[in-house]
Amino acid sequence: MSESVVLRTIGGMLFPYILVYGLYVQMHGEIGPGGGFQAGVLVAAAFILHSLLFGKELTDRLLPTWLVDLSMSLGVLLYIGVGIVGLVKGSYFLDYSVLDPTHPAHAEALGMTLVEAGVGLTVASVILTMVRKVNGEPA
């Protein structure tokens, strides 16, 4: 498939747009359809498209396996970190209002953005790893 010029051109054109759309879904998730999970799936879909069209060696150069493994745990760490901040500051787990006590609305927006970023990171990297495993590679 990597010798098909039409597919490679169209896929190469579409790859950045899927990535940007994933970011849009991530950022817009609060007020529209979307959120961390959906954005993670979209970002993973962009890299799956890249590896289908250009081969997994090129995709590995673009997004190394160690980075995928790292961001898999980094997302969970971000989520739990935001939750732990609430515990440390003397409130309950995942209490956003302690992040900015003077502005509760700002604090909630900040906390939700961080948590959704964590979810997106983890979902994207877990789906990429799942696809690698299904293809029979050691991940």
Binding site: V25, L42, N135
Partner: protein, 86 residues
Amino acid sequence: MNAELITALLVIGGAFLALLRAVKGPTTFDRVLAVNVFGTKTVVLLALLGYIGDRTGFLDIAVLYALVNFLGTIALLKFVETRRLG
């Protein structure tokens, strides 16, 4: 009955016909094309439903579905050609 509802019903009918071709279709090419047509009809139907229900969020889902539909077709073609996805 208003026009956009009739259009939505017609699109659903067309999608059903495409699904029939995907089940019957003698060659693999027929099936791939039918699945692609079905995905395109889904995109149109999502946009129509967004218009009928006056919910602009549906347009986001329609764009998303168009992107993922393209990916699915490419994966199917690659699997047919090489019998593996890697």
